[in-house]
């Protein structure tokens, strides 16, 4: 019956983070709903959320679907200008995704292949270390979270992130070119941001809290099962761990010691 202290704090914290005051918070905290959403769902109790990208199964079509689902879910505007661009998840080629790991004799097919990139939700995130106001921090479940109401927009985190995973709102997202954003916001249940704050992938914390898998994973699996897998890296029995046991996987810039939690099966 009811919810335990831990879950309460989690949900209350989440509500606060997303500015879910009033009705939304009550809805989320309504005992019946919470019981239902937490039951049988080990999702909300992970220690280290992580992702495995199976690059053999990944196709350009899937990656487009991932990006579209994510950006729709989180009201990420389209600026039509690479300088102002806000990106939570996108793609790049091998030599740019894994710099210094290419060689002259790389198979052409592989060299031109695109890879899905997003925040690595590092074990030791430099972005959180440098943030002067604790506007970004590492949650107990491993998610590197952002509080857009706390952020002062100093962009130290953007300088610190070795993965280019963070975006700044150089302008007001509401004022992004209307022809590129015919329907904005795309998801009325998720907040839009103000200008002057940093944002990034949040591993769909708002969906996880409701017992749903991240939007990109859902979109990827709708096309090709297990092309993108999400789970608890600390859980020996999880699917992500199973994949890492039976496949060779690499991470981006592991040599920097930040402990990235996105794995790429190659």
């Amino acid at each position: 019956m009811g919810i335990d202290r831990r879950s309460f704090i989690k949900i209350a914290g989440l509500s606060a983070i997303f500015g879910l005051g009033g009705k939304a918070a009550f809805e989320l905290l309504a005992p019946g709903d919470v019981d239902a959403s937490l039951k049988d769902i080990p999702l909300t109790q992970a220690n280290t959320w992580g992702m495995v990208v199976d690059t053999n199964k990944m196709t350009d079509e899937i990656m487009v679907a991932c990006k579209s689902a994510c950006h729709k879910e989180h009201n990420v505007p389209e600026w039509g200008d690479s300088r102002l661009e806000v990106k939570w998840i996108w793609t790049d080629t091998y030599e740019h995704t894994f710099p210094n790991q290419g060689h002259n004799y790389l198979d052409e097919q592989f060299a031109e292949k695109h890879f899905l990139v997003l925040c690595n939700h590092c074990d030791f995130p430099p972005c959180c270390r440098v943030c002067p106001t604790k506007a970004t921090w590492k949650r107990e479940d491993g998610i590197v979270m952002m509080d857009q109401h706390r952020c002062i927009g100093c962009r130290f985190c953007m300088a610190a992130c070795p993965f280019g995973a963070r975006s700044f709102n150089w302008g007001d997202p509401q004022k992004a070119p209307i022809e590129l954003n015919p329907q904005f916001p795309t998801n009325p249940d998720y907040p839009t941001r103000t200008k002057g704050v940093v944002e990034k992938c949040n591993f769909c914390a708002e969906r996880i809290a409701r017992g749903l898998i991240p939007a990109c994973v859902e979109a990827a699996n709708a096309v090709e099962e297990d092309s993108l897998v999400f789970g608890d890296l600390d859980d020996h029995g999880s699917k992500v761990r199973g994949l890492l046991r039976s496949n060779y996987a690499i991470r981006r810039k592991a040599e920097l010691g930040t402990g990235p939690n996105i794995y790429y099966i190659v």
């Binding site: 300088r83 002067p132 106001t133 002062i152 100093c154 300088a159 992130c161 810039k253």
Partner: protein, 385 residues
């Protein structure tokens, strides 16, 4: 004493009005930035710090450089500098005001700035930078004010002021060390990830700070009856010479490590800055100007007969200021972001609003320096025989 700043000649008032006009223009452009966001600058997702943070870095150096008159006076009992310590302290105050303003105009959400104090993160270097810079500014205001008013009354300043002076000396080193740590501890930005960053910062600070001070002393001599005197200026010239030698030496150390090791990441930014990368080379002419000016200034500074001529020293100081400004106020910050984490080259160039806002901030800093100097010089003129 502040009353001295409102009694001045026509030249003084013209200068003040000129600065105020620049401040107003800068503020106008800031309003544009305020309403449209930082998209009005040249910064973007790849080069996410630019001109503003470059100026912050450079003027922390100018502020720290002020200690080069305080240290010889208090630690080496070099009496001659007693005449000019207050000028060094007031220069530091103006410089730090510029630093604070450059941080403020760079913030995306200025109204939330107090979060720095309300929710401090003890692992963030920016938090410590905020503290050391503000404390250093306060120290210099208190010291300068007390020493000057004691001088006006013809008495010795109180003992605690002297204690504060002693504390302010290592503190000056700390402000630039902490500012270097903003950069030097970041994984994945190879150009910044160097153990001698703080040493380089200090060397360039002790060249550029005293160089600016020499120029200010010469201006003070030209426009007022107070003469900071030949010996003081000559000694400062020697300090600039030594510091500039170290500054260039440290830069050469960086070049050796990068190019002898041949590690691509260590070379990329430097190659971008000095010869361009993948066909992009916007900063190349600037960086070679800096290198050329550094060499010429060194020749002028190292030859004693040249350095001792005040006109030559003035020219050398101008070259030092331009050279260190390009290196630290522009190339350092921008170069660190190029290539980006995906090893792509995305260039940066400041926009008109960005430059105008910066001019407004510089004008504000020099406005403060002018007022403080006017006050100091008037007191010194008054007590002069």
């Amino acid at each position: 004493m502040l009353d001295k700043a409102i009694k001045g000649s026509g030249t003084y008032w013209s200068w003040i009005i000129f600065l105020v006009v620049l401040m107003v223009v800068g503020f106008g452009f800031y309003l544009l930035q305020w309403f449209q966001g930082l998209m009005v600058t040249g910064m973007g997702r790849d080069v996410s710090w630019g001109f503003y943070i470059g100026q912050l870095t450079y003027f922390v150096g100018i502020a720290a450089g002020g200690v080069m008159v305080v240290l010889p006076y208090y630690l080496h009992d070099y009496k001659a500098f007693g005449r000019v310590t207050v000028l060094g302290e007031f220069l530091a105050v103006g410089a730090i005001i510029m630093c604070g303003l450059f941080v403020m105009v760079d913030l995306g959400q200025l109204p939330r700035m107090l979060n720095l104090v309300l929710h401090p993160n003890l692992t963030s270097i920016l938090f410590y930078d905020f503290i050391v810079l503000n404390v250093y500014m306060l120290m210099n205001i208190i010291i300068g004010w007390n020493v000057l008013s004691a001088e006006q009354k013809g008495v010795q300043y109180q003992k605690w002021v002297k204690v504060l002076c002693y504390i302010s000396i290592p503190w000056a080193f700390s402000i630039h060390t902490v500012t270097a740590f903003l950069y030097a501890g970041i994984p994945g930005r190879h150009y910044w990830l160097t153990a001698i960053m703080a040493a380089r910062f200090l060397a360039s600070a002790f060249a550029s700070g005293p160089a600016l001070l020499i120029i200010l002393c010469l201006i003070v001599r030209k426009f007022t009856r107070f003469d900071p005197a030949k010996e003081q200026i000559r000694t400062l010239g020697g300090i600039v010479a030594y510091a500039m030698i170290l500054n260039v030496f440290f830069m050469l150390l960086e070049l050796f490590t990068a190019f002898y090791s041949q590690i691509p990441g260590h070379m990329h930014s430097i190659v971008y800055l000095f010869s361009g990368l993948e066909g992009h080379g916007k900063l190349v002419p600037l960086m070679w100007t800096a290198a050329f000016f550094a060499v010429v200034s060194l020749i002028l500074l190292i030859i004693p007969a040249a350095r001792r001529k005040e006109s030559v020293l003035l020219a050398a100081c101008i070259l030092v200021i331009i050279s260190t400004w390009i290196d630290k106020g522009f190339g350092l910050v921008v170069g660190g972001f190029i290539p980006n984490p995906f090893e792509r080259v995305v260039e940066y160039w400041p926009t008109v609003p960005e430059i105008c806002i910066s001019i407004g901030v510089w004008a504000t800093g020099f406005f403060v320096i002018t007022i403080l100097y006017k006050m100091a010089v008037s007191v010194k003129e008054e007590i002069a025989p």
